[in-house]
Subunit: 296 residues, 2 copies
């Protein structure tokens, strides 16, 4: 079988479009588009909307990179792949909302195709609330579970745990948010099944986040909640610059810096030794939501 | 000769005090003090002043850490030191001023003492302006040169270049600021000379930054300059979380997170694809100041 890379590419471009179209409906404007070339070959389309009424900064990035040989990060676990020419395609979305009652969301799907029909998929989606709503966490994980269900009973718990383990700030001993799904190196189901799963990731991410966004975007808030949102966004920056493999890999391989760092929040605050008052709504985030747990 | 570690410790504590006392004179309050213990032994004193009228966030940290064996970061270049028990002492200062016409400054001095009288010093100081003043850059580097002069003609140019090379954001192809001095693994002059040099680092940092701070702190500014300062602070965060060895080493070895990250600026903004208007004061920073050059 020849791997139909063009089908994957078409799907990823349509997913990027779909995400932008869906969230544009909340705003007066569309996501502006930047097309760029990668110095090694290939390139991408970055779409970033800023200062919307609902979305403070939202980035949806498509990239298609060609490479002479797979980078160490990709061959660490499979040394037999060293030196293979490859193509890497992916879509990443990070939405930082205006309203602190709306969580930040992140979704990524990526596809690697190397010589000899070697391929794998990776990706997932996760949610980072500032003020938690248990019903939103349940919904998010129910949708994650639905995305996994056709592919086996073990898929959701396995990729849910992988997400909890991955999006963890060791230096804070804190998860980044309430998790979702994370997976990498997925190939053992065969191309068709893996590709179908990827499509579910895009579909269920969009549906789940749309529901949460619409439900919470009009809750009234004060400077206090906005301040807490800006403070917590600092954790997002810390995670992405200290741990996130995609970010570090992109920066180390001279990717397009502005597209890679579009994931960083618009306004961020660091305070020394700040802690929420015990019993406050802010403390509840730490006590109730920033603990890995089974939401469904 | 027995290395007089207590003299180093006393000097470092007095340096921390001197820095805090000097900058407190500009504010109505002193630098509040936190004492903490390290889980491996030793501990530190963190002094962080926030929301002052001149200093938006200023952190001056003393630490004295004991370890069973030297970490890989410290033995990479000298494998013969592997496994030695050690003590590490240091003072770091990072001052983020309110006024965008005042540059951010950073100073660090550190001392490692391992078994068998093995020791070395490291440190330096560097300046990160938002709006550049050539005379301030000249002064800063003149003071850096003066600090080096008693120790040989090659010291200033060597440690100046090391600073330019170290404080460089590869992913932006930008220096962090206008440099200063950086050095590590300094032991070949013998303990007495090295210690005298370290004292000069503290002394000339404080003198130079005090002059610049007092000269620029009352320049009037508008939201435009404040916005640019917040934007440029993003580069400071990127450098510290992506590249700074002290930060990464501290976080990886479970140091006190809040003391390590006290270096991060208080309010930061990331904008996608933002560029200063050609010919503007903001463009001048990039065109004239963020290029490694000889200021003296």
């Amino acid at each position: 079988m020849i791997i139909p890379i063009n089908e994957v590419k078409e799907y990823l471009l349509s997913l990027q479009n779909m995400i932008c179209e869906t969230f544009s409906l909340l705003e007066k404007e569309k996501f502006p588009e930047d097309r760029w070339q990668h110095h090694q070959g290939g390139g991408g389309i970055s779409r970033v909307l800023t200062d919307g009424s609902v979305i403070e900064k939202g980035g949806v990035n498509f990239s298609h990179i060609l490479g002479g040989d797979l980078p160490p990060a990709a061959t660490e676990k499979r040394p037999e792949l060293k030196g293979l020419a490859f193509q890497a395609l992916g879509v990443s979305a990070v939405i930082h909302p205006v309203n602190p009652y709306v969580p930040t969301s992140h979704m990524n799907v990526r596809f690697f195709l190397a010589e000899n029909n070697v391929f794998w998929f990776g990706g997932g989606f996760d949610l980072t609330p500032y003020y938690g709503f248990a019903e939103d966490c349940v919904l998010w994980h129910e949708f994650a579970k639905k995305a996994c269900e056709p592919f086996g009973k073990e898929v959701y718990p396995t990729f849910k745990k992988w997400c909890d383990d991955y999006f963890y700030l060791k230096h804070r001993q804190e998860p980044r948010g309430i998790g979702g799904l994370f997976f990498d190196d997925l190939h053992e189901w065969g191309f068709e099944q893996c590709f179908a799963f990827i499509k579910n990731i895009g579909k269920y991410y969009l549906e789940a986040y749309k529901i949460i966004l619409e439900k919470r975007k009009n809750i009234s808030y004060t400077q206090r909640e906005k301040d807490f949102q800006k403070y917590r966004r600092g954790r997002y920056v810390e995670f992405n610059l200290l741990y996130d493999r995609g970010t570090l890999f992109g920066l180390q391989t001279s990717g397009r810096t502005e597209s890679i760092l579009m994931s960083l929040p618009p306004e961020v605050v660091w305070k020394y030794q700040w802690h929420p008052d015990p019993g406050s709504a802010e403390a509840e985030l730490y006590d109730k939501f920033l603990k890995p747990r089974n939401w469904v």
